[in-house]
Assembly symmetry: C2
Homo-oligomer: 437 residues x 2
Amino acid sequence: MATDIATRVYNHTFRIDPAIRTLLDTDFYKLLMLQMIWKMHRERQVTFQLINRTTSVRLAEIVDERELIDQLDHARTLRFAKNELIWLAGNTFYGTRQIFEPGFMEWLAQFRLPDYELTQRDGQYELTFSGPWTGTTMWEIPALAIINELRARAAVRTMSRFDLDVLYARAKAKLWSKVERLRRLAEEGPLKVSDFGTRRRHGFLWQRWCVEALQEGLGDNFIGTSNVKHAMDTGLEAVGTNAHELPMVYAALARDDAELRQAPYAVLRDWATMYGGNLLVVLPDCFGTTAFLRDAPDWVADWKGARPDSKPALEASRELIAWWKARGRDPQEKLVVLSDAMDVESIEEAARALRGQVKLSFGWGTHLTNDFVGCAPAGADGQLKAISLVCKVVEADGRPAVKLSDNPDKALGALDVVERYRRVFGANGMARHPVEV
Amino acid sequence: MATDIATRVYNHTFRIDPAIRTLLDTDFYKLLMLQMIWKMHRERQVTFQLINRTTSVRLAEIVDERELIDQLDHARTLRFAKNELIWLAGNTFYGTRQIFEPGFMEWLAQFRLPDYELTQRDGQYELTFSGPWTGTTMWEIPALAIINELRARAAVRTMSRFDLDVLYARAKAKLWSKVERLRRLAEEGPLKVSDFGTRRRHGFLWQRWCVEALQEGLGDNFIGTSNVKHAMDTGLEAVGTNAHELPMVYAALARDDAELRQAPYAVLRDWATMYGGNLLVVLPDCFGTTAFLRDAPDWVADWKGARPDSKPALEASRELIAWWKARGRDPQEKLVVLSDAMDVESIEEAARALRGQVKLSFGWGTHLTNDFVGCAPAGADGQLKAISLVCKVVEADGRPAVKLSDNPDKALGALDVVERYRRVFGANGMARHPVEV
């Protein structure tokens, strides 16, 4: 049991143990959205802000500010590496070659994360990214991943070598039991699962283990990872399409109520000029799914599918199925991507309930890459329980941005603006549910 | 994630991955007994033989003969290292300094394992060690550990990197849950646990992990390990006293029934000339505990304690307690060492039932160092389930050696000789129980 001195010295003289290792360590949808923003909205000024919905966890008292600054500053030193750019340009995404155009790739080669503002209030960090949308949008994933990983590091810092060994042994055993359940589920019928867990992960290396465990355990039923770096390294598909920031910005920029009402569809119209096929997946819940579907132009029903994100999975799926039928489309040709706080139980329930009615795929996030409940030997469980941390658009060109969502507890933004949006879109089909993660 | 080339090449060019790394990788009682044998029985010829009581596991079809020979031959190349000899000479064992006398240490420095005979019959290995008792006795532990580890290696050979990762993650999680239960038990009252798991271990490195886990998790309630190498490396006490081979050889050499009946006490008389204090622990079950206690000279009740090894733990402990009382001794001053197939449940049961009545300590063996039940992801569970493999004296100076034990299913030796011993000692207090490990 000889000690490798070089390795040991190297490990102990890290200037920093980075939470973010490369700009490619982000979600794929950020790159798709970034290309659209770069092409159509290069001058827009958009502010993102970190919001901790789990206010009982006082992050500023847990995560050391100096460490946070070091990690944020380290992320700002990163560039896309040459092999990463070549891979992005040469790889096939969603069956499409050269999905990123040469001009965008050239611009991307120069990309670096813009500056940030960090203050504290009420035991929470106020972390704000202001400036051109093309820069601020790219902070969402690394900012969330950094804070989640630093919080996890703080929780494990006082653990002994054995506590750590047992912690990860239990977490691996726990995840593998989930994999085995999903394997049994896959024997009953088609199953498609992907990793959506970058932002809320326990850490980069743990996410990699989770991704490789699914690759090993689920085989073809594991259809990809949203994390571009893991996709490149493991040969998995990079997956993901678009996010709330698009309708939020479009809505913020609307000049009147009529334009506001049309904003969600304007997003889709622009998106469809950039991408096609399986990338045409609607995110319907930004200002309420029921209103969105009711007012949608008929061509929206031609899109490949939808990703409900704030209504109970079954309820949302059935609403979509009914809507496709009402619009004369065959739901069996459509795709529903379920990604809101999914875990094995809810995946099993939805897969069994919806089998044969619609194509289904599951974006498995926080409960995949950050489930350490019951794993900490020293009773540090609470400190490792995932929290509901988001990084959202709060302003576009100086105008306030908000989100309603199907669950009023997930609404974001200034109350008066939320009120105005509710008048415009209505509160049809909205209901409160506890926000898990 | 750079690969350390030197480490990788080194790992892949091992001539052999040894199951036994040093002669010190043995049980402490072998050294205590060896010194007595060296001092009093240097000319005795004693044959040991491997016996697999789990005949359903056809070892010769699982463990490759070439690998077995390589491991046995490798063990024969080993000597005690200089620092090990210095430690044996200078360390305090059971509170006694220089427990090993200088002449013995000089002899030990030259020690090597003697030759062996290996054949196959009925899908089992016939592994026999013949020659001076001073040499053959030392094969017991390495022979058992080698075969158990080679069987485990055969079981994991076809596993993927992930299956292995999950296997050990689950085994660690499983052991740690046991540690946590024992920690709760220790809060109720005194608890003393030691590792007795060398011979049946999954492997050397796994035993080390188990020992370190108990050291970390149980603190002072973990009083030591029977494994001398682990004791030296971890700073734990080396524990253990004597084994069945002593009464078996003494009995085999008895010239008539009267001498045979006295053989178990002759062992104790000799032992007491060598060692004292807490090393005066009787192993009463070799030819039946009830007969042993009934016929024991009164001075046997002065010994520190007893280690029942083949009767149900509670029954045996109560029999001992009653016997000490009947002999006018205070059982609360006496020590019962329980070591027969103990696991958490039986430790809890005995600790709670006997609390306040007698001093108790637990020798935790196979279920500590080789419990992989439910841990193999690929359904290789059966191949990793521990078997009842022993290495026992079969002959002394050309005369057959047998053991009756309290459980007829654990009796060993030629039937006619067993019958004779049963006539001499009687079958009082014996009862069949399934032999677990």
